[in-house]
Amino acid sequence: MIRVEKLSKRYADTTVVDEVSFAVERGSIAVIVGTSGSGKSTLLRMINRLVEPSAGRVLIDGHDTRSEPAHLLRRRIGYVIQGNGLFPHRTVAENIATVPRLLGWDARRTAARVAELLTLFGLDPGTYANALPQQLSGGQQQRVGVARALAAEPLVLLMDEPFGALDPIIRAKAQEDLLAIQRRFGMTVLLVTHDMDEAFRLGSRVAVMSGGKLLQYDRPAALLTHPADGFVARMTGLAERALRLLSLITAGEAAAPGVSDGPAVAATATLREVLSELVWSGADSARVVGADGTPRGRLTLAAILARGTP
Protein backbone atom coordinates (compact mmCIF):
# COMPACT_ATOMS: atom_id res chain seq x y z
CA MET A 1 0.00 0.00 0.00
CA ILE A 2 1.19 3.49 -0.87
CA ARG A 3 0.14 6.26 1.48
CA VAL A 4 0.90 9.84 0.48
CA GLU A 5 0.51 12.41 3.26
CA LYS A 6 0.35 16.15 2.65
CA LEU A 7 3.04 15.88 0.02
CA SER A 8 4.26 19.18 -1.46
CA LYS A 9 6.96 20.27 -3.87
CA ARG A 10 8.04 23.87 -4.27
CA TYR A 11 10.54 25.24 -6.77
CA ALA A 12 11.66 28.74 -5.78
CA ASP A 13 8.30 30.47 -5.27
CA THR A 14 6.06 28.15 -7.32
CA THR A 15 4.28 25.22 -5.71
CA VAL A 16 3.98 22.45 -8.28
CA VAL A 17 2.50 19.84 -5.91
CA ASP A 18 0.36 21.23 -3.12
CA GLU A 19 -0.40 19.16 0.01
CA VAL A 20 -1.55 16.07 -1.82
CA SER A 21 -2.83 13.14 0.26
CA PHE A 22 -4.20 9.82 -0.93
CA ALA A 23 -3.65 6.10 -0.56
CA VAL A 24 -3.42 3.31 -3.07
CA GLU A 25 -4.64 0.00 -1.74
CA ARG A 26 -2.24 -2.90 -1.86
CA GLY A 27 -2.58 -4.82 -5.13
CA SER A 28 -4.70 -2.23 -6.91
CA ILE A 29 -4.16 0.21 -9.77
CA ALA A 30 -4.58 3.93 -9.24
CA VAL A 31 -4.34 6.38 -12.12
CA ILE A 32 -3.41 10.07 -12.01
CA VAL A 33 -4.88 12.36 -14.67
CA GLY A 34 -4.68 16.12 -15.09
CA THR A 35 -3.78 18.86 -17.50
CA SER A 36 -0.21 19.32 -18.68
CA GLY A 37 1.94 20.86 -15.96
CA SER A 38 -0.48 19.96 -13.18
CA GLY A 39 2.27 18.16 -11.25
CA LYS A 40 1.50 14.51 -12.08
CA SER A 41 5.05 13.50 -12.90
CA THR A 42 6.45 15.44 -9.98
CA LEU A 43 4.04 13.66 -7.64
CA LEU A 44 4.96 10.26 -9.07
CA ARG A 45 8.68 11.00 -8.88
CA MET A 46 8.44 12.04 -5.26
CA ILE A 47 7.30 8.51 -4.47
CA ASN A 48 10.59 6.96 -5.58
CA ARG A 49 12.45 10.12 -4.56
CA LEU A 50 13.74 11.06 -7.98
CA VAL A 51 12.34 14.36 -6.70
CA GLU A 52 12.77 15.08 -3.01
CA PRO A 53 9.55 16.40 -1.42
CA SER A 54 9.56 19.88 0.14
CA ALA A 55 7.05 18.77 2.76
CA GLY A 56 4.94 15.77 3.66
CA ARG A 57 5.80 12.11 3.52
CA VAL A 58 5.28 8.89 1.62
CA LEU A 59 4.72 5.54 3.33
CA ILE A 60 5.07 2.26 1.48
CA ASP A 61 3.62 -0.63 3.47
CA GLY A 62 3.90 1.57 6.53
CA HIS A 63 7.58 2.47 6.07
CA ASP A 64 8.63 6.05 5.46
CA THR A 65 10.47 6.16 2.14
CA ARG A 66 13.11 8.42 3.70
CA SER A 67 14.25 5.67 6.04
CA GLU A 68 16.75 4.30 3.51
CA PRO A 69 19.08 5.74 0.83
CA ALA A 70 17.12 6.77 -2.29
CA HIS A 71 18.91 4.43 -4.69
CA LEU A 72 18.20 1.42 -2.48
CA LEU A 73 14.53 2.41 -2.23
CA ARG A 74 14.30 2.64 -6.02
CA ARG A 75 15.55 -0.90 -6.49
CA ARG A 76 12.37 -2.08 -4.77
CA ILE A 77 10.08 0.11 -6.86
CA GLY A 78 9.47 -0.54 -10.56
CA TYR A 79 9.60 2.56 -12.75
CA VAL A 80 8.44 2.92 -16.35
CA ILE A 81 8.60 6.16 -18.33
CA GLN A 82 7.37 7.36 -21.67
CA GLY A 83 9.93 6.56 -24.34
CA ASN A 84 10.96 3.68 -22.04
CA GLY A 85 14.59 4.87 -21.58
CA LEU A 86 16.13 1.52 -22.48
CA PHE A 87 19.94 1.46 -22.35
CA PRO A 88 20.92 1.56 -26.03
CA HIS A 89 24.32 -0.03 -25.44
CA ARG A 90 22.92 -3.06 -23.64
CA THR A 91 21.02 -6.03 -25.00
CA VAL A 92 17.39 -6.66 -24.18
CA ALA A 93 18.40 -9.32 -21.64
CA GLU A 94 20.93 -6.99 -19.99
CA ASN A 95 18.38 -4.20 -19.84
CA ILE A 96 15.91 -6.46 -18.07
CA ALA A 97 18.64 -7.76 -15.76
CA THR A 98 19.54 -4.24 -14.55
CA VAL A 99 17.91 -4.27 -11.13
CA PRO A 100 18.57 -7.96 -10.34
CA ARG A 101 22.25 -7.22 -11.01
CA LEU A 102 22.18 -4.15 -8.80
CA LEU A 103 20.64 -6.33 -6.10
CA GLY A 104 23.36 -8.93 -6.54
CA TRP A 105 21.19 -11.83 -7.72
CA ASP A 106 23.25 -14.77 -8.94
CA ALA A 107 23.54 -15.25 -12.70
CA ARG A 108 21.24 -18.27 -12.89
CA ARG A 109 18.38 -16.69 -11.03
CA THR A 110 18.73 -13.53 -13.13
CA ALA A 111 18.81 -15.45 -16.41
CA ALA A 112 15.76 -17.49 -15.41
CA ARG A 113 13.83 -14.35 -14.50
CA VAL A 114 14.78 -12.62 -17.76
CA ALA A 115 13.62 -15.61 -19.78
CA GLU A 116 10.38 -15.80 -17.79
CA LEU A 117 9.59 -12.13 -18.39
CA LEU A 118 10.46 -12.23 -22.09
CA THR A 119 8.14 -15.18 -22.54
CA LEU A 120 5.43 -13.51 -20.49
CA PHE A 121 5.57 -10.47 -22.77
CA GLY A 122 5.44 -12.58 -25.91
CA LEU A 123 9.08 -12.04 -26.87
CA ASP A 124 10.86 -15.26 -27.74
CA PRO A 125 14.07 -15.29 -25.62
CA GLY A 126 16.02 -17.06 -28.38
CA THR A 127 15.24 -14.25 -30.81
CA TYR A 128 15.22 -11.20 -28.57
CA ALA A 129 17.44 -11.76 -25.53
CA ASN A 130 20.59 -10.69 -27.37
CA ALA A 131 19.03 -8.05 -29.59
CA LEU A 132 19.79 -4.38 -28.97
CA PRO A 133 16.80 -2.15 -28.11
CA GLN A 134 17.00 -0.22 -31.37
CA GLN A 135 16.42 -3.46 -33.28
CA LEU A 136 12.95 -3.76 -31.73
CA SER A 137 9.66 -2.10 -32.72
CA GLY A 138 8.23 0.64 -30.50
CA GLY A 139 5.70 -1.73 -28.97
CA GLN A 140 8.37 -4.32 -28.23
CA GLN A 141 10.66 -1.72 -26.68
CA GLN A 142 7.82 -0.60 -24.47
CA ARG A 143 7.24 -4.19 -23.30
CA VAL A 144 10.92 -4.56 -22.52
CA GLY A 145 10.69 -1.33 -20.51
CA VAL A 146 7.88 -2.81 -18.41
CA ALA A 147 9.69 -6.15 -18.11
CA ARG A 148 12.79 -4.32 -16.87
CA ALA A 149 10.74 -2.52 -14.23
CA LEU A 150 9.24 -5.81 -13.05
CA ALA A 151 12.47 -7.82 -13.09
CA ALA A 152 13.20 -7.77 -9.37
CA GLU A 153 9.58 -8.49 -8.43
CA PRO A 154 8.79 -5.06 -7.00
CA LEU A 155 5.70 -4.68 -4.86
CA VAL A 156 5.12 -1.20 -6.25
CA LEU A 157 5.17 -0.12 -9.89
CA LEU A 158 5.22 3.55 -10.95
CA MET A 159 4.39 4.34 -14.57
CA ASP A 160 4.61 7.80 -16.17
CA GLU A 161 2.66 7.83 -19.43
CA PRO A 162 3.97 4.35 -20.19
CA PHE A 163 1.88 3.88 -23.33
CA GLY A 164 1.96 7.48 -24.53
CA ALA A 165 4.06 6.80 -27.60
CA LEU A 166 2.14 3.76 -28.87
CA ASP A 167 -0.46 3.60 -31.62
CA PRO A 168 -4.05 2.82 -30.51
CA ILE A 169 -4.00 -0.90 -31.30
CA ILE A 170 -0.67 -1.63 -29.62
CA ARG A 171 -1.74 0.63 -26.78
CA ALA A 172 -4.92 -1.40 -26.14
CA LYS A 173 -2.82 -4.56 -26.13
CA ALA A 174 -0.31 -3.02 -23.71
CA GLN A 175 -3.17 -2.05 -21.37
CA GLU A 176 -4.54 -5.59 -21.46
CA ASP A 177 -1.08 -6.98 -20.76
CA LEU A 178 -0.68 -4.64 -17.81
CA LEU A 179 -4.01 -5.72 -16.32
CA ALA A 180 -3.13 -9.40 -16.78
CA ILE A 181 0.32 -8.94 -15.24
CA GLN A 182 -1.02 -6.91 -12.36
CA ARG A 183 -3.51 -9.69 -11.61
CA ARG A 184 -0.76 -12.26 -11.82
CA PHE A 185 1.87 -10.56 -9.66
CA GLY A 186 -0.48 -8.48 -7.53
CA MET A 187 1.75 -5.43 -7.32
CA THR A 188 0.42 -1.98 -6.44
CA VAL A 189 0.44 0.27 -9.49
CA LEU A 190 0.36 4.06 -9.74
CA LEU A 191 0.08 5.24 -13.34
CA VAL A 192 0.05 8.72 -14.91
CA THR A 193 -1.80 9.27 -18.17
CA HIS A 194 -3.33 11.94 -20.38
CA ASP A 195 -5.82 9.49 -21.80
CA MET A 196 -9.09 9.47 -19.90
CA ASP A 197 -10.24 6.21 -21.49
CA GLU A 198 -7.01 4.59 -20.35
CA ALA A 199 -7.56 5.95 -16.84
CA PHE A 200 -11.08 4.55 -16.69
CA ARG A 201 -10.04 1.26 -18.16
CA LEU A 202 -7.12 0.58 -15.83
CA GLY A 203 -7.78 2.46 -12.61
CA SER A 204 -9.77 1.11 -9.72
CA ARG A 205 -9.30 4.67 -8.46
CA VAL A 206 -8.53 7.81 -10.39
CA ALA A 207 -6.88 10.97 -9.08
CA VAL A 208 -7.65 14.23 -10.87
CA MET A 209 -5.00 16.94 -10.50
CA SER A 210 -4.97 20.59 -11.44
CA GLY A 211 -2.42 23.26 -10.57
CA GLY A 212 -0.61 20.96 -8.15
CA LYS A 213 -3.74 20.15 -6.17
CA LEU A 214 -5.55 16.84 -5.96
CA LEU A 215 -9.16 17.76 -6.78
CA GLN A 216 -10.73 14.34 -6.41
CA TYR A 217 -9.60 10.79 -5.77
CA ASP A 218 -12.37 8.33 -6.34
CA ARG A 219 -13.74 5.31 -8.14
CA PRO A 220 -14.20 6.00 -11.86
CA ALA A 221 -18.02 5.79 -11.67
CA ALA A 222 -18.09 8.23 -8.76
CA LEU A 223 -15.98 10.75 -10.73
CA LEU A 224 -18.67 10.68 -13.39
CA THR A 225 -21.72 10.68 -11.19
CA HIS A 226 -20.42 12.92 -8.40
CA PRO A 227 -17.65 15.16 -9.73
CA ALA A 228 -16.15 17.34 -7.01
CA ASP A 229 -16.31 20.44 -9.21
CA GLY A 230 -16.71 21.69 -12.74
CA PHE A 231 -13.07 21.02 -13.59
CA VAL A 232 -13.34 17.34 -12.72
CA ALA A 233 -16.56 17.12 -14.72
CA ARG A 234 -14.91 18.70 -17.75
CA MET A 235 -11.78 16.59 -17.32
CA THR A 236 -13.73 13.35 -17.23
CA GLY A 237 -15.65 14.48 -20.31
CA LEU A 238 -19.08 16.11 -19.99
CA ALA A 239 -20.07 15.12 -23.52
CA GLU A 240 -19.14 11.50 -23.02
CA ARG A 241 -19.97 10.87 -19.40
CA ALA A 242 -22.98 8.60 -20.07
CA LEU A 243 -20.97 6.44 -22.44
CA ARG A 244 -18.00 6.39 -20.05
CA LEU A 245 -20.29 5.21 -17.29
CA LEU A 246 -21.53 2.41 -19.54
CA SER A 247 -17.96 1.44 -20.34
CA LEU A 248 -17.36 0.70 -16.65
CA ILE A 249 -20.03 -2.04 -16.53
CA THR A 250 -19.78 -5.43 -18.24
CA ALA A 251 -22.62 -7.20 -19.99
CA GLY A 252 -22.27 -10.12 -17.59
CA GLU A 253 -22.88 -7.84 -14.60
CA ALA A 254 -25.93 -6.16 -16.11
CA ALA A 255 -27.59 -9.13 -17.81
CA ALA A 256 -31.13 -9.98 -16.68
CA PRO A 257 -32.71 -13.44 -16.92
CA GLY A 258 -34.60 -14.02 -20.15
CA VAL A 259 -34.10 -14.82 -23.78
CA SER A 260 -33.49 -12.58 -26.76
CA ASP A 261 -33.35 -13.09 -30.50
CA GLY A 262 -30.93 -10.17 -30.84
CA PRO A 263 -27.17 -10.39 -31.54
CA ALA A 264 -24.90 -12.42 -29.21
CA VAL A 265 -22.49 -10.41 -27.06
CA ALA A 266 -19.69 -11.64 -24.75
CA ALA A 267 -20.25 -11.38 -21.01
CA THR A 268 -16.92 -9.51 -20.78
CA ALA A 269 -18.02 -6.81 -23.27
CA THR A 270 -18.82 -3.41 -21.76
CA LEU A 271 -22.33 -1.94 -21.92
CA ARG A 272 -20.90 0.74 -24.18
CA GLU A 273 -19.85 -1.92 -26.65
CA VAL A 274 -23.23 -3.70 -26.37
CA LEU A 275 -25.04 -0.41 -26.97
CA SER A 276 -22.94 0.21 -30.05
CA GLU A 277 -23.76 -3.28 -31.29
CA LEU A 278 -27.50 -2.74 -30.77
CA VAL A 279 -27.46 0.63 -32.54
CA TRP A 280 -25.54 -0.94 -35.39
CA SER A 281 -27.78 -3.98 -35.81
CA GLY A 282 -31.07 -2.17 -35.13
CA ALA A 283 -32.09 -4.78 -32.51
CA ASP A 284 -33.59 -3.77 -29.17
CA SER A 285 -32.03 -6.50 -27.08
CA ALA A 286 -28.88 -8.65 -27.04
CA ARG A 287 -28.15 -12.21 -25.99
CA VAL A 288 -25.32 -12.38 -23.43
CA VAL A 289 -23.10 -15.47 -23.67
CA GLY A 290 -20.19 -16.68 -21.54
CA ALA A 291 -16.73 -17.52 -22.88
CA ASP A 292 -17.84 -21.14 -23.41
CA GLY A 293 -20.99 -20.09 -25.26
CA THR A 294 -23.44 -20.73 -22.40
CA PRO A 295 -26.38 -18.29 -22.26
CA ARG A 296 -26.08 -15.70 -19.51
CA GLY A 297 -29.39 -13.87 -19.98
CA ARG A 298 -30.31 -10.82 -22.00
CA LEU A 299 -29.81 -7.08 -22.13
CA THR A 300 -32.50 -4.74 -23.44
CA LEU A 301 -31.83 -1.32 -24.85
CA ALA A 302 -33.90 0.22 -22.07
CA ALA A 303 -31.92 -1.63 -19.40
CA ILE A 304 -28.66 -0.37 -20.86
CA LEU A 305 -29.87 3.22 -21.10
CA ALA A 306 -30.99 3.09 -17.47
CA ARG A 307 -27.39 2.34 -16.42
CA GLY A 308 -26.06 5.45 -18.16
CA THR A 309 -27.56 7.95 -15.71
CA PRO A 310 -26.44 8.66 -12.15
Partner: protein, 246 residues
Amino acid sequence: MPRAATLLRLAALALLLAFLLWPQSFAPLFTPLTQYGAPPIYDQGNLLSLALAQLGTVCLAAAASTVVAVGLGILVTRPSGAQFLPLSRTLVNVGQTFPPVAVLAVAVPLVGFGEKPTLIALFAYGLLPIFENTLVGLKTCPPAVLEAASGMGMSARQRLLSVELPLAMPLILEGVRLSLVINVGTATIGSTVAAKGLGEVIIAGLLSSNTAFILQGGLVTGLMAILLYDGMAALERRLLRQVALD
Protein backbone atom coordinates in the same frame (compact mmCIF):
# COMPACT_ATOMS: atom_id res chain seq x y z
CA MET B 1 35.83 -0.76 -44.88
CA PRO B 2 36.28 -0.97 -48.67
CA ARG B 3 38.96 -3.40 -49.76
CA ALA B 4 40.95 -0.90 -51.77
CA ALA B 5 41.26 1.44 -48.79
CA THR B 6 42.51 -1.38 -46.57
CA LEU B 7 45.12 -2.34 -49.12
CA LEU B 8 46.26 1.26 -49.42
CA ARG B 9 46.69 1.51 -45.67
CA LEU B 10 48.62 -1.75 -45.48
CA ALA B 11 50.82 -0.52 -48.29
CA ALA B 12 51.48 2.74 -46.43
CA LEU B 13 52.36 0.81 -43.28
CA ALA B 14 54.71 -1.49 -45.20
CA LEU B 15 56.36 1.50 -46.86
CA LEU B 16 56.85 3.26 -43.52
CA LEU B 17 58.32 0.17 -41.85
CA ALA B 18 60.57 -0.58 -44.80
CA PHE B 19 61.88 2.97 -44.77
CA LEU B 20 62.50 2.99 -41.02
CA LEU B 21 64.19 -0.44 -41.01
CA TRP B 22 66.25 -0.14 -44.18
CA PRO B 23 66.51 3.55 -44.96
CA GLN B 24 69.65 3.13 -47.06
CA SER B 25 67.78 1.10 -49.67
CA PHE B 26 65.73 4.25 -50.42
CA ALA B 27 68.88 6.32 -51.07
CA PRO B 28 68.54 6.35 -54.89
CA LEU B 29 65.10 7.98 -54.53
CA PHE B 30 66.43 10.87 -52.44
CA THR B 31 69.76 11.43 -54.17
CA PRO B 32 68.27 13.84 -56.78
CA LEU B 33 67.22 16.13 -53.89
CA THR B 34 70.75 16.56 -52.57
CA GLN B 35 73.54 18.79 -53.74
CA TYR B 36 77.35 18.59 -53.68
CA GLY B 37 77.38 14.90 -52.65
CA ALA B 38 75.52 15.44 -49.36
CA PRO B 39 74.15 12.23 -47.81
CA PRO B 40 70.69 11.41 -49.28
CA ILE B 41 69.50 9.61 -46.10
CA TYR B 42 69.66 11.06 -42.59
CA ASP B 43 72.85 9.75 -41.05
CA GLN B 44 73.17 11.48 -37.67
CA GLY B 45 70.90 9.02 -35.83
CA ASN B 46 68.69 5.99 -36.20
CA LEU B 47 65.44 6.94 -37.94
CA LEU B 48 63.54 4.05 -36.35
CA SER B 49 64.49 4.99 -32.82
CA LEU B 50 63.70 8.67 -33.49
CA ALA B 51 60.27 7.75 -34.81
CA LEU B 52 59.59 5.47 -31.85
CA ALA B 53 60.77 8.15 -29.40
CA GLN B 54 58.42 10.68 -30.97
CA LEU B 55 55.52 8.21 -30.90
CA GLY B 56 56.26 7.42 -27.26
CA THR B 57 56.24 11.11 -26.29
CA VAL B 58 52.98 11.69 -28.14
CA CYS B 59 51.27 8.67 -26.56
CA LEU B 60 52.43 9.60 -23.09
CA ALA B 61 51.18 13.17 -23.54
CA ALA B 62 47.87 11.92 -24.96
CA ALA B 63 47.42 9.56 -22.01
CA ALA B 64 47.93 12.45 -19.60
CA SER B 65 45.61 14.74 -21.62
CA THR B 66 42.97 12.03 -21.67
CA VAL B 67 43.04 11.48 -17.93
CA VAL B 68 42.86 15.20 -17.18
CA ALA B 69 40.37 16.18 -19.93
CA VAL B 70 37.98 13.28 -19.26
CA GLY B 71 38.28 13.87 -15.54
CA LEU B 72 37.45 17.55 -15.99
CA GLY B 73 34.61 16.68 -18.36
CA ILE B 74 33.11 14.36 -15.77
CA LEU B 75 33.57 16.91 -12.99
CA VAL B 76 31.85 19.79 -14.76
CA THR B 77 28.89 17.66 -15.86
CA ARG B 78 28.09 16.66 -12.23
CA PRO B 79 25.65 18.95 -10.43
CA SER B 80 28.30 19.71 -7.80
CA GLY B 81 30.96 20.59 -10.38
CA ALA B 82 28.88 22.60 -12.86
CA GLN B 83 30.26 25.83 -11.44
CA PHE B 84 33.72 24.87 -12.70
CA LEU B 85 32.64 24.66 -16.33
CA PRO B 86 33.62 28.22 -17.38
CA LEU B 87 36.98 27.95 -15.59
CA SER B 88 37.76 24.54 -17.11
CA ARG B 89 36.81 25.75 -20.56
CA THR B 90 39.09 28.73 -20.24
CA LEU B 91 42.03 26.63 -19.06
CA VAL B 92 41.61 24.11 -21.84
CA ASN B 93 41.19 26.81 -24.46
CA VAL B 94 44.33 28.56 -23.28
CA GLY B 95 46.14 25.23 -23.57
CA GLN B 96 45.09 25.07 -27.19
CA THR B 97 45.63 28.71 -28.20
CA PHE B 98 48.94 29.24 -26.42
CA PRO B 99 51.45 28.24 -29.13
CA PRO B 100 53.33 25.05 -28.22
CA VAL B 101 56.59 26.79 -29.08
CA ALA B 102 55.83 29.41 -26.45
CA VAL B 103 55.00 26.66 -23.95
CA LEU B 104 58.42 25.17 -24.64
CA ALA B 105 60.07 28.53 -24.06
CA VAL B 106 58.30 28.90 -20.74
CA ALA B 107 58.80 25.30 -19.66
CA VAL B 108 62.51 24.93 -20.35
CA PRO B 109 63.66 27.29 -17.57
CA LEU B 110 61.39 25.38 -15.18
CA VAL B 111 62.04 21.74 -16.07
CA GLY B 112 65.16 21.89 -18.23
CA PHE B 113 65.82 20.64 -21.77
CA GLY B 114 64.74 17.26 -23.14
CA GLU B 115 61.50 15.35 -23.25
CA LYS B 116 59.78 17.04 -20.28
CA PRO B 117 59.01 20.46 -21.82
CA THR B 118 57.76 18.72 -24.97
CA LEU B 119 55.45 16.52 -22.91
CA ILE B 120 54.06 19.61 -21.19
CA ALA B 121 53.48 21.43 -24.48
CA LEU B 122 51.77 18.44 -26.09
CA PHE B 123 49.72 17.73 -22.99
CA ALA B 124 48.35 21.28 -22.96
CA TYR B 125 47.79 21.31 -26.71
CA GLY B 126 45.91 18.01 -26.70
CA LEU B 127 43.40 18.79 -23.94
CA LEU B 128 40.83 20.72 -25.96
CA PRO B 129 39.50 18.10 -28.39
CA ILE B 130 39.24 15.47 -25.66
CA PHE B 131 37.58 17.82 -23.18
CA GLU B 132 35.03 19.19 -25.65
CA ASN B 133 34.15 15.74 -26.97
CA THR B 134 33.78 14.35 -23.45
CA LEU B 135 31.49 17.24 -22.63
CA VAL B 136 29.31 16.74 -25.69
CA GLY B 137 29.25 12.99 -25.13
CA LEU B 138 28.14 13.29 -21.52
CA LYS B 139 25.68 16.12 -22.13
CA THR B 140 23.93 14.43 -25.02
CA CYS B 141 23.05 11.22 -23.19
CA PRO B 142 19.28 10.87 -23.74
CA PRO B 143 17.46 12.26 -20.65
CA ALA B 144 15.03 9.32 -20.61
CA VAL B 145 17.95 6.90 -20.39
CA LEU B 146 19.51 8.80 -17.49
CA GLU B 147 16.18 9.03 -15.72
CA ALA B 148 15.68 5.30 -16.17
CA ALA B 149 19.16 4.59 -14.80
CA SER B 150 18.46 6.58 -11.65
CA GLY B 151 14.92 5.24 -11.46
CA MET B 152 16.21 1.65 -11.52
CA GLY B 153 18.32 2.43 -8.46
CA MET B 154 21.80 3.05 -9.82
CA SER B 155 23.93 5.25 -7.59
CA ALA B 156 25.45 8.33 -9.22
CA ARG B 157 28.72 6.45 -9.63
CA GLN B 158 27.09 3.36 -11.12
CA ARG B 159 25.16 5.53 -13.54
CA LEU B 160 28.33 7.30 -14.64
CA LEU B 161 30.35 4.13 -15.12
CA SER B 162 27.76 1.85 -16.65
CA VAL B 163 25.59 4.27 -18.62
CA GLU B 164 27.04 7.74 -19.17
CA LEU B 165 30.66 6.88 -19.99
CA PRO B 166 29.81 3.94 -22.28
CA LEU B 167 27.35 6.15 -24.18
CA ALA B 168 29.90 8.97 -24.42
CA MET B 169 32.73 6.62 -25.37
CA PRO B 170 32.53 7.00 -29.16
CA LEU B 171 32.94 10.77 -28.87
CA ILE B 172 35.63 10.56 -26.20
CA LEU B 173 37.67 8.18 -28.34
CA GLU B 174 37.25 10.46 -31.31
CA GLY B 175 38.63 13.32 -29.21
CA VAL B 176 41.63 11.22 -28.19
CA ARG B 177 42.22 10.35 -31.81
CA LEU B 178 42.13 13.98 -32.91
CA SER B 179 44.45 14.96 -30.11
CA LEU B 180 46.91 12.19 -30.99
CA VAL B 181 47.02 13.07 -34.63
CA ILE B 182 47.47 16.79 -34.06
CA ASN B 183 50.30 16.05 -31.65
CA VAL B 184 52.24 13.65 -33.85
CA GLY B 185 52.95 16.60 -36.10
CA THR B 186 53.34 19.14 -33.31
CA ALA B 187 55.83 16.88 -31.51
CA THR B 188 58.52 17.65 -34.09
CA ILE B 189 59.07 21.03 -32.43
CA GLY B 190 60.35 19.16 -29.37
CA SER B 191 63.65 18.77 -31.17
CA THR B 192 64.30 22.48 -30.64
CA VAL B 193 64.66 21.71 -26.92
CA ALA B 194 66.62 18.49 -27.41
CA ALA B 195 63.78 15.96 -27.13
CA LYS B 196 64.42 12.88 -29.26
CA GLY B 197 62.21 12.89 -32.34
CA LEU B 198 61.89 13.36 -36.06
CA GLY B 199 62.13 17.12 -35.71
CA GLU B 200 65.86 16.50 -35.44
CA VAL B 201 65.89 15.25 -39.03
CA ILE B 202 63.98 18.27 -40.29
CA ILE B 203 66.19 20.72 -38.38
CA ALA B 204 69.33 19.02 -39.66
CA GLY B 205 67.92 19.39 -43.17
CA LEU B 206 67.21 23.08 -42.65
CA LEU B 207 70.68 23.75 -41.21
CA SER B 208 72.51 21.98 -44.05
CA SER B 209 70.03 22.94 -46.80
CA ASN B 210 69.39 19.26 -47.37
CA THR B 211 65.88 18.93 -48.85
CA ALA B 212 66.09 15.14 -48.63
CA PHE B 213 66.34 15.26 -44.83
CA ILE B 214 63.44 17.70 -44.51
CA LEU B 215 61.31 15.51 -46.72
CA GLN B 216 62.21 12.36 -44.78
CA GLY B 217 61.32 13.88 -41.42
CA GLY B 218 58.10 15.29 -42.82
CA LEU B 219 57.02 12.16 -44.66
CA VAL B 220 57.66 9.79 -41.78
CA THR B 221 55.76 12.09 -39.42
CA GLY B 222 52.88 12.44 -41.86
CA LEU B 223 52.62 8.71 -42.49
CA MET B 224 52.70 8.04 -38.75
CA ALA B 225 49.86 10.50 -38.21
CA ILE B 226 47.70 8.98 -40.93
CA LEU B 227 48.32 5.42 -39.81
CA LEU B 228 47.70 6.32 -36.18
CA TYR B 229 44.42 7.97 -37.15
CA ASP B 230 43.28 4.92 -39.08
CA GLY B 231 44.53 2.50 -36.46
CA MET B 232 42.63 4.34 -33.73
CA ALA B 233 39.50 4.43 -35.87
CA ALA B 234 39.70 0.67 -36.38
CA LEU B 235 40.32 0.14 -32.67
CA GLU B 236 37.30 2.31 -31.85
CA ARG B 237 35.04 0.29 -34.10
CA ARG B 238 36.28 -2.90 -32.43
CA LEU B 239 35.83 -1.51 -28.95
CA LEU B 240 32.37 -0.12 -29.63
CA ARG B 241 31.15 -3.40 -31.02
CA GLN B 242 32.50 -4.97 -27.86
CA VAL B 243 30.68 -2.46 -25.65
CA ALA B 244 27.50 -3.05 -27.60
CA LEU B 245 27.76 -6.80 -27.11
CA ASP B 246 29.08 -6.75 -23.58
